[in-house]
């Protein structure tokens, strides 16, 4: 079984689904037996959500208006 350090190093890649199949199987086998690394996995998942959640913040109305104006004023 891979070590905790090795499993933790690959958790984000595991969540991103960018690790090779053999490594994915190793990570899952480790997670099945290691409670602490499951905690790390859950935390990584929440951290990703924290990052993603800021992608929908509101934009000042004036900024959006000025950007639309730039688009409209492109010289034909």
């Amino acid at each position: 079984m891979i070590s905790c350090a090795e499993a933790v190093r690959q958790l984000w890649e595991y969540l991103d689904d960018v690790i090779p199949e053999t490594e994915r199987v190793s990570v899952e086998a480790h997670l099945a037996r290691c409670r602490r690394c499951c905690g790390e996995l859950e935390f990584a998942r929440e951290l990703r959500l924290t990052l993603a959640s800021t992608a929908n913040e509101s934009i000042p109305h004036g900024v959006l208006r000025r950007l639309h104006e730039t688009l409209e004023e492109l010289e034909p």
Partner: protein, 195 residues
Amino acid sequence: MVVAGSRADRAERIRRLAHEELPRLYRIARRIVGDEAEDAVQDCLLKAFQKIDQLQDDTAARSWLTSILVNCCRDRYRSQSRRPDEVEFDEVEEFSLYRKIAYEDPFPYSDSLHLDFLAEFGNEDVRAVLLRISELYRIPLVLVYMDGFLAREVAAMLDAPLGTVLARLHRGRKLFEKQMWEYASERGLLREVTR
């Protein structure tokens, strides 16, 4: 489909393609260049207008515009002689925010310590933490985890090998975790309040 036409046609085409993308482009720029976001998007629109004939397929407009925006953001860094800092891997590789929170136990009476830590971070805090990280690592983080691009799409946008982008994502995540802890410590987010 290639649409080459008069200057008026090209202006109309860029308007049509960029109109719905403006909020998304601005949000990305805010996370890459902070307060210069509006200028970066303006640069992007002008450049996209100049290059519109290079866009072969309108369905690729989202990543095409993002790619132009990212380059405009990088130009802003270059023009101010701000160089992206390479970070020594050893400095951050060993850091684990999960373990740090568990060890330091900032909210001793909490039964959901790690989630409580994350709950302290609003949008502005997350943006401030991102801006502490070198653009070299910040750009892939923003594009993958906030805008949903795949690492290989980001590699194409940055004209970098996939392995390089994956390595920068790895370092970027570690740096983000480390900076979250430092930001929380500096801003007093780790004090037990009314829980």
